[in-house]
């Protein structure tokens, strides 16, 4: 998971992308796809959705790259990822609600299939038990590599609040993982 790409290299890459150079975008996919995939995978809890979200994100970037400042590319990139995930959650909730309603109408006893079947690791499984905002801020801090200052700025909240949210979330996650071991 390369997080040490030099700032200059990223800035050059953004310039290339702004010119519409396909090669620039290819390099960007190589650099960021793993981190973004990890971010979406932890939050969505399954590979299919993570694939779809990463794909959609890069296509969005090709449209919006013009509005990005090369020196703040990473916060910009993860902001779009975060918005995309929020939309995904909304759609998922709507879909689940609709499926539940249909299930009630059909009077079937078959439970709606949950994502648990897709989960492959303990951490991702426990992260699904956190509320969406907490899981998101933890995944964001880990995969974006943003400082707390950048994170707070992106979330438009005081740095102390951001720090405290991440810490509370990790404490809860720790509890969940320890409980599962018992």
């Amino acid at each position: 998971m390369p997080m040490d790409e030099s700032k200059e290299k990223i800035e050059q890459l953004v310039k290339l992308c702004k010119k519409g150079q396909s090669d620039g975008f290819s390099q960007m996919v190589d650099i960021y796809s793993s981190r973004l995939y990890g971010y979406f995978y932890r939050l969505a809890g399954n590979r299919d959705d993570a694939n779809e979200l990463v794909s959609e994100l890069f296509l969005k970037i090709t449209e919006k790259i013009g509005s990005c400042k090369s020196e703040t590319f990473e916060p910009w990139l993860f902001r779009i990822a975060s918005n995309l995930f929020t939309d995904y959650i909304r759609t998922k909730k709507r879909r689940e609600k609709m499926l539940n309603k249909m299930a009630e109408q059909c009077l079937t006893e078959t439970p709606v299939e949950k994502d648990d079947g897709y989960l492959t690791d303990k951490l991702t499984k426990q992260m699904q038990k956190l509320d969406a905002e907490t899981a998101e801020i933890i995944a964001m801090r880990f995969y974006s590599g943003l400082s707390f200052e950048e994170l707070a700025k992106m979330r438009n909240e005081p740095i102390g609040t951001c720090l405290s949210k991440v810490h509370r979330g990790i404490k809860r996650l720790k509890q969940l993982m320890e409980n599962e071991n018992e």
């Binding site: 396909s22 890069f58 951490l123 400082s147 707390f148 720090l163 990790i170 720790k174």
Partner: protein, 169 residues
Amino acid sequence: MNKFKNKNENLDGLLAKFFLASEAKQVKDDFSFADGAFEKFPAAKPAEQTIEEIKRKIAAKLSTQKHISWPRVILQAAAVAAVVVVAAVLTWPDKPASTGGSAAKIQEQDIQLVSETDISLYEAEIAQLNSELLTLNYGEENGTNGRLLDLTEQVEVEIIETDNTFWKG
């Protein structure tokens, strides 16, 4: 790699700002736990096929963005301009008001009042000019022929102007 602490930020300084010394140590331990968990249970990686598919989609999207059809753009711009012109003509304030709202009714009443007063004035003026013309034509005015002809023409012009003004409103 400790992802929760490896940023170019002074995490110790930051924690000291918001937590007591004992709490700050606990927070650091919890962050270390999180780093350990993320390393112990690494996230799945995107398949090579997925990455290639993304690159292919991006290339396709970029190529469509580059192929701008200028005749089509001009045609679209012309269509938009035409719509704007039509809209401007239809909503132009000098256009006679439609028979709908109260504003339109008030304007109609105003026009009627003005017209009634003006019509009688114009009619009187036309009648006067007409009698003057008849007088001139029948030679009832004293004076030379040349002057009379000039006057005739002048009166005729006046009649035509008054008539035009009347019909223009």
